[in-house]
């Protein structure tokens, strides 16, 4: 549909206005910019056009009522001329009062209608040609600036997109199939997580439980079977065990007989052995007794000889001991005498030592005192000399300085005397005196005349009248300066003449030499000690020692020497006496010990001799002593007979192999015991198994197991069937979903391409978008950055909203209607507005765009646009 002309009469304050949207009815696309200030009626144009196409003239709809001019009685009237397909409709309505509808259709099938018939005709014609919902959804108003058009259910667009994909979109059947497949899938899986539903899991668990129970029953059944098998084996085993027991009993009996025979021999041997042991013991006792008696007799005689020798030795030792005792007493007395003399000499020498030490201490005290006193005196003298030096500043350098000044004066005087003075005087009362080039201002009254005379030898008269030029003023001035310098120096050093200074220099030199001498003596007196050490030594001196009667050093040394010699002699005498006494005492002690030992040994020997004598006496007085040998001979014969009997028995046992018989018998008895035990165990086990098998087998175990096996099989079948059904449902669902996704991509491709075309014109070559299931822009990409729609600025959202609509409109082409943009792009900057001009122009090549704006400047970049100013 293309709008050619729209006229309003008494609509919202617009009395009469006709707006031509197209001048050339053959060229009905392009951009029309309707420009006018606020309340000029721009939006009213659009609303009136919608009302004309939508509502009957008699409608009481609020949209119709809003057309009425407030405060006016005249009914609103709207008329439009538009083209629908190849036909041109001239359509007019007067609303509310005296509702009127008139329609004239020209072109193919021309018709002229009025009233509701005309309205119905237009509605039907519009519905056939365009999707009015979609048509109006493409309009953009200020309220919808940033919204994407609601176009996903639009019939017209769907038709276009379907044509674009060249694949028929899903219809009712397909929707029903997809829904059914989804429901079928949801009966097995949760839709959110895609996990198996509880019912299927329970089936799985039930199967596992049944399988476990079956396994348990199988084990019970196997246990019965194992018991039965074991029982069969035991049944076969028992006869073999019976035969083995019988044979073992026979073998055991034979072995037992052999053992009995051997046992008898062993008993005989044991008896003979005991008898032999007793006889041997008796014989041994007798032999021992005989030997004891002979040994005692021998020992008695030996011991008697030894006692005699010991008695002689004891007497000799005793005599020698007595002589040694006398000798030892004499030596002891000599040693005591020597000891007394030694102590006396030692005391005398100690007294002489003390006297000599006292003398030495007194001498040392005097030396230290004298040294300290001299040091104190030197310190005082050095202080005086140093003070005198400090009082005399005339060093050699000072004197030389003064002599240089004196020499300068002498030279200046000679120079002055050799040259005439060069003096200029310019003066009246006050005048200038120039001396050696330096001008002096002199006041009247100064004694310049005398000075001049002194320096030049000239007598100067009245100054105010004289003007004398002294040509040799320089030498005179030099002499005067030198003289002044010398005088200043002498005055500074407080002397009158250079001679006096020279005498003071000599005096200072003498003081310096005196101080050097004093320092040398002081250092010599001090030596290696410090002054503090000397003071400390002095402080430690005992000044109270009484030296009355104390001899001199030589006397005391002679006395000490004599005392030492006496002491040495006494020490030697004492040592000799002491050694002698010690040696004698050692000899005495040794001899004394010898005597004691001999005495003890003798006593012991005598005691032992007495014991032997008593023992021998006891033997000699015993009753059987006379028959001892006879008894011993009889005992020997008995022992021999019994040993022969024992040999015979041992030979018999060896020949019978007694040890082997025992082992064989032991083994035969053990084998018999083992076999009997095994037979009893087998019998008991067989009885146990009989009982176990009867108990276990009595409750229909087999059929219960079979019943469980059946249940397991059925549960497994059910589970497998359910799992198969679930897998089938999932496969169908997944396949449908996969293809739905692919179809969606193909389906939106034409719209996507159109948006991309406009977008790249606006944003550049990097522009890209993602469309959601509702065909709205979900994300935008520019220069490597993807942003969700909500993240974009208001201006960008507004621009995307515009190009989405333009893309739809372009896709619809002739099937679309005129698209209104009402005060759009309010957030768009100037640069984008310029590009949007191109976008709108491009879109206008295939559709009719009407831009309503209060700011025509905003759209001045739209080339070729028709501009209408209200």
């Amino acid at each position: 549909m293309r709008l050619i002309e729209l006229s309003l009469h008494n609509v919202r304050g617009v009395e009469n206005r006709t707006v031509p949207f197209a001048t050339d009815t053959t060229e009905l696309t392009g951009v029309v910019i309707v420009e006018g200030p606020n309340e000029a009626g721009k939006t009213t144009l659009r609303d009136a056009f919608v009302a004309l196409l939508t509502y009957k003239a008699s409608s009481k709809h609020s949209d119709v009522k809003l057309l009425q001019t407030s405060g006016r009685d005249e009914p609103p009237g709207v008329s439009a001329t538009f083209k629908l397909g190849e036909r041109t409709f001239t359509y007019r309505k007067q609303f509310t009062k005296r509702p009127t509808t008139e329609l004239i259709v020209t072109g193919t099938d021309p018709i002229q209608l009025s009233g509701d018939e005309a309205h119905d005709y237009v509605v039907k014609a519009l519905d056939e040609k365009l999707d009015r919902g979609l048509w109006q959804a493409l309009w953009l108003t200020q309220r919808e600036l940033a919204t994407q058009p609601a176009i996903d259910d639009a019939r017209g667009l769907t038709r276009v997109l379907d044509a674009g994909t060249k694949t028929a979109a899903v219809g009712m059947i397909e929707h029903a199939v997809v829904d059914a497949a989804r429901r079928h899938y949801a009966s097995f899986f949760t839709e959110k997580t895609g996990k198996l539903r509880t019912e299927l899991k329970q089936l799985d668990e039930a199967y596992d439980t049944a399988l476990n129970e079956l396994e348990q029953l199988n084990q019970e059944l196997a246990a019965v079977q194992n018991d039965s098998d074991e029982r069969d084996r035991l049944e076969r085993e028992l006869p073999r065990l019976d035969q083995a027991v019988t044979k073992a009993e026979h073998d055991a009996a034979k072995a037992r007989d052999a053992v009995l025979r051997v046992t008898t021999w062993r008993n005989d041997l044991r008896i003979v052995g005991a008898e032999l042991e007793a006889a041997t013991a008796k014989r041994d006792t007798l032999v021992a007794r005989n030997e004891q008696q002979q040994r005692l007799t021998f020992e008695q005689s030996q011991r008697a000889e030894r006692i005699d020798v010991l008695a002689e030795e004891h007497a000799a030792y005793d005599t020698a001991l007595t002589a040694l005792a006398v000798e030892l007493a004499n030596a002891e007395q000599a040693r005591l005498n020597a000891q007394h003399e030694r102590d006396e000499a030692r005391r005398a020498r100690q007294h002489a030592d003390k006297q000599r030490q006292l003398r030495q201490a007194v001498d040392e005290r005097e030396i230290i005192t004298k040294r300290r006193d001299r040091l104190i005196q030197l310190e005082h003298e050095r202080a005086q000399t140093t003070h005198a030096l400090n009082e005399n500043p005339f060093t050699q350098e000072v004197l030389e300085h003064l002599e240089r000044l004196q020499h300068a004066v002498d030279v200046a005087r000679i120079q002055q005397q050799q040259t005439a003075p060069d003096v200029t005087v310019n003066a009246l009362m006050a005048f200038h005196l120039s001396v050696d080039g330096i001008v002096h201002e002199l006041a009247a009254g100064d004694n310049w005349q005398a000075t001049l005379t002194t320096n030049t030898g000239l007598a100067i008269g009245d100054v105010a009248k004289l003007a004398i030029t002294l040509p040799k003023a320089d030498t005179h001035n030099a002499w005067a300066n030198a003289t002044r310098a010398l005088d200043d120096a002498l005055r500074q050093h407080d002397v009158a003449t250079i001679e006096e200074a020279r005498a003071k220099r000599d005096q200072r030199l003498a003081l310096s030499q005196q101080l050097a001498h004093q320092s040398i003596e002081y250092d010599t007196m001090l030596g290696d000690d410090t002054r503090e050490a000397i003071e400390q030594a002095y402080a430690l001196l005992d000044h109270s020692t009484d030296t009355t009667g104390l001899g001199d050093t030589a006397t005391l040394d002679a006395q000490l020497h004599a005392a030492r010699e006496r002491e040495q002699l006494a020490e030697h005498a004492y040592d000799t006496a002491d050694t002698t006494e010690r040696e004698l005492r050692v000899l005495y002690d040794a001899k004394s010990a010898q005597v004691t030992t001999t005495r003890i040994t003798l006593a012991n020997e005598q005691a032992e001799q007495e014991r032997i004598e008593r023992e021998l006496h006891a033997h000699e007085t015993s009753n059987d002593n006379n028959d001892l040998m006879a008894t011993l001979n009889t005992a020997n014969d008995t022992v021999t007979a019994l040993q022969q009997q024992q040999d015979v028995l041992n030979r018999q046992l060896a020949e019978a192999g007694a040890d082997d018989i025992d082992a064989l018998n032991d083994n035969a008895q053990a084998v018999l015991r083992d076999l009997k035990t095994a037979r009893e165990t087998t019998q008991r086990r067989r009885e146990q198994l009989d009982t176990t098998i009867r108990v276990r087998g009595g409750d229909g175990l087999f059929e219960r197991r079979e019943e469980h096996a059946t249940r397991c099989t059925r549960l497994q079948e059910q589970r497998d069937a359910q799992q198969h059904r679930a897998a089938v449902a999932k496969r169908l669902y997944d396949t449908l979903e996969t293809h739905r996704g692919l179809a969606h991509s193909r389906y939106i491709a034409p719209l996507y391409d159109e948006i991309l075309r406009f977008g790249r014109l606006l944003y550049g070559a990097t522009f890209d978008i993602e469309l959601n299931d509702s065909l709205a822009i979900a994300r935008r990409h520019v220069d490597g950055v993807w942003l969700d729609l909500e993240q974009l600025s208001a201006g960008a959202q507004e621009q995307l909203a515009l190009i989405s609509r333009l893309a739809c409109a372009r896709l619809l082409g002739d099937e679309g209607g005129v698209v209104f943009f009402d005060d759009a792009l309010g957030h768009t900057d100037q640069q984008r507005l310029e590009r949007l001009g191109a976008v709108l122009r491009l879109a206008g090549q295939h559709t009719q765009l009407v831009v309503l704006t209060c700011d025509g400047e905003r759209f001045r970049h739209v080339g070729g646009a028709t501009r209408i100013v209200l």
Binding site: A176, H184, E703, T710, H739
Partner: protein, 391 residues
């Protein structure tokens, strides 16, 4: 005196012929795991009914005795109720002497079902358990000798041991034994297998006149003498069995023998391989499944489907199989031979009327379906959903 007695017995036996009913392998207490509980109950009851039927047959035929050649019970540890119900059937049956042989399923071990108090208390008087190899005379000169199993795993078949003790003493001797025979499917047994030549020698040497065998569930003659038979089980238990559900009526004398097969079983285990290529094949299968002549409630069907079907055909097939599952004792797919391919055709597509991505999904599944059963079934599911949506 004893020689005279033996001679008299021999004379009588020469002229005596007896009729016996030979049956075996009842295996009472057996369960088939593929059965639903209700089917299992029917299966168990029908096996008891088969016993009642054979006993009635014995009465009708005026048989002298009934011999059960082993495996009366499926296990020694069967439920008490199973024992009581079995003995109750025998107690209600005509009082014909009956000999039960313990065999490998119910050997005479300590757990033997025949030693349980339940069995001893409820065993009818005309029923004898062959617990040893003693001869049981049922008529003058006519004896029944059993070769009972004392354990599940005999190294030598008890019959082999028994045979060594037998001589031709003029009696009409009927041996009741159990176990595999080398020429009748028993060669796989390394232990206790019987040799056909030994059995033939046993009857040709007139040490016995008939050997009633149990173990093989299919009725089978062993050797050329017609005096050695497997009766087979009275009700089938497996699809592998070739001729089950029979009992044998044996009329035997020392010189003659007549063996008649009598069908008593009602159940059948059916393995069927069906190739489906078109609607006609499918219709034939459906007709076959609904065959009114078949006792479907007692039919255990294992079906292998091969060929190619469209989605529509597959849906129809699925419906038919679901219906069969409700009617048959059991319907299972024979996985080893199942090779059915689902290949949608244009008609399927037209009927589904799919477009857009749903049509794309359909094509993906269709491509995967030949090699992927999940994809094939997903395709069928999509078909079902689409058809349902379209209606």
């Amino acid at each position: 005196m004893s020689q005279q007695t033996s001679f008299d017995t021999a004379v009588r036996a020469e002229s005596t012929a007896v009729t016996l009913i030979h049956t075996a392998d009842w295996q009472l207490g057996m369960r088939r795991h593929v059965f639903a509980p209700e089917t299992q109950g029917r299966f168990a009851q029908d096996r008891l009914d088969a016993i009642a039927t054979l006993m009635q047959f014995a009465a009708t035929e005026q048989a002298d005795c009934v011999v059960v050649a082993g495996d009366v019970f499926d296990d020694n540890l069967v439920d008490r109720q199973t024992i009581i119900r079995a003995l109750d059937v025998l107690a209600r049956a005509p009082k014909i002497p009956m000999f039960l042989l313990p065999a490998n399923h119910d050997p005479l071990d300590p757990a033997s079902v025949y030693k349980t108090q339940t069995f001893l208390d409820n065993c009818p008087s005309h029923v004898t358990v062959l617990t040893d190899t003693d001869e049981h005379e049922i008529a003058d000169g006519v004896v029944i000798v059993g070769a009972p199993w004392r354990t599940r795993r005999h190294t030598i078949n008890p019959l082999s041991e028994l045979a060594e003790t037998l001589t031709d003493d003029g009696k009409l001797r009927i041996i009741v034994a159990h176990g595999g025979v080398d020429t009748a499917g028993g060669a796989h047994d390394t232990m206790n297998v019987l040799r056909e030549t030994d059995l033939t020698a046993l009857v040709t040497s007139k040490r016995c006149q008939y050997i009633a065998l149990g173990d093989r569930h299919s009725t089978t003659q062993v050797g050329p003498t017609k005096r050695v038979y497997y009766s087979g089980a009275p009700e089938p238990t497996s699809p592998r069995e070739t001729d089950p559900g029979n009992v044998l009526k044996v009329t035997v004398s020392r010189d003659d023998i007549d063996v008649t097969v009598k069908k008593v079983g009602r159940w059948q285990f059916v393995n069927e391989i069906v190739t489906l290529e078109n609607d006609r094949d499918l219709d034939q299968l459906i007709t076959w499944l609904r065959d009114p002549a078949r006792d479907n409630a007692r039919t255990v069907l294992r079906l292998a489907l091969q060929g190619v079907v469209t989605l529509a055909q597959h849906a129809k097939l699925t419906d038919a199989l679901n219906q069969a599952a409700d009617v048959y004792a059991s319907v299972t797919r024979w996985q080893r031979h199942d090779q059915l391919v689902i290949a949608p055709d244009d008609a399927d597509l037209d009927q589904m009327n799919l477009s857009g991505f749903v049509a794309d999904a359909f094509n993906t599944l269709r491509n995967d379906a030949p090699d992927d059963p999940i994809a094939a079934d997903a395709l069928s599911l999509l078909y079902a959903l689409a058809v349902k949506a379209d209606t």
